[in-house]
Symmetry: C2
DNA sequence: GGCAAGGTAGCACAGTCGTGCTAGAAAAGG
DNA sequence: CCTTTTCTAGCACGACTGTGCTACCTTGCC
């Protein structure tokens, strides 16, 4: 009943992360369609059997890949939120954690885009995506609320509507930064986002 | 040298459109990954051979599907632009032609999203997407320019930057309307977009 | 030492894939 | 009538797919 032996302690979570990052590399290089069990195993330098030990099925693999994208962005965002400094730049930095402004975040965003498209026809992934987008949307609404409360945005704003608009800017920038990187380099992305936040407070 | 017989006149373009719409149905129902030659032929009620007569290869099929999305949106947008009426509502209606506000446009947007994701790893599709996004981006910049010129937007706006921001709102709304339809029904999408245009002119 | 369990490896199966290919049906000019 | 061309049909090939499965290696407790 109780376990008798505890052999080969390999941190399961850590192992799954390593394998999942192999999934990311395959998705980025060859697309979701190419993220087969064999291809991922080859990329990770392991065997099909080992992979299937950690992920019982192919869908589970993609599911975990999506989870990891969300988790990492959220972790970074929370760190940025906890940092000090003036309000507006700090909120900017939190929002920027979801944008592809460096190689790491670019990888995540590309995987996010690929899996978002797949979620259109994969209910399992759709559930994940819904939870994630609800969270980010709620955060955007909160950002607007805080800006209004702190006097950094006009007091007559429709908070829900502006939250929705901010969220659209955010994901629109994410898509564009990933699909048109030469037109929209990281600094330009930051500039557009900063302009948007500033515009919420423009009273003139 | 000159053709001698002209048998079975089937409008090639028309036929290709019909088949391409079968591609759309498959992509919407089962995803790009499932858009195999066999599946599309079955969906179109024809044979693999017939399909391959019109599209020499699988990539050509997807390429044409993407082309058709772009072409249809552009046709509608030009019609909306040619219509009369006051400036701002007219521009709104043109921009709305790229958004999934009814069943037809929803289909196009879903296919667009799926193919945009695939374009990350398919140079052929990437070329198409680049041309299309450059065009829409340029149009967004023009919209801002016209609004400024007509006094419907603040004269001190950075036109390029605002064009970029408008484009982000547009594609962000497209993604959200397709992935979170219950939160973002068509009227809400219109409201957010209208708010954005109005905000460009907010002087208060 | 023995043994149980965690972890790895990879074969086997039945299926799907894209594409090359041949063969026939349909239609119009001679 | 026959010929020519367009269009349709679908078989055949080799490659790749996800997953069930067995066998093996490694580890740590008894």
């Amino acid at each position: 009943m109780l376990e008798k032996a505890v052999p080969r302690i390999v941190d399961a979570d850590q192992r799954r992360r390593e394998l999942t990052e192999a999934v990311w590399r395959v998705i980025r290089r060859d697309g979701v369609a190419a993220a087969s069990v064999r291809a991922v195993a080859r990329e990770a330098g392991t065997s099909m059997g080992a992979l299937r030990h950690w992920f019982g099925t192919q869908d589970e693999l993609l599911h975990f890949a999506m989870t990891l994208v969300m988790e990492r962005a959220r972790t970074r965002a929370e760190a940025a939120a906890a940092a000090g400094g003036p309000l507006v730049p700090r909120l900017l930095r939190v929002l920027e954690e979801t944008l592809p402004l460096d190689e790491e975040r670019r990888a995540e965003t590309e995987v996010w885009l690929a899996l978002t498209a797949r979620a259109l026809v994969d209910p399992q992934l759709a559930g994940l995506r819904d939870r994630s987008s609800a969270e980010l949307h709620a955060f955007c609404v909160d950002v607007v609320r805080v800006l209004v409360a702190e006097g950094a945005a006009r007091p007559d704003l429709d908070v829900d509507l502006e939250g929705e608009r901010l969220y659209a800017v955010l994901d629109g920038l994410a898509v564009h930064a990933v699909t048109r990187p030469s037109v929209l380099p990281p600094d330009r992305v930051r500039e557009v986002l900063a302009t948007h936040l500033a515009a919420l407070g423009a009273t003139r």
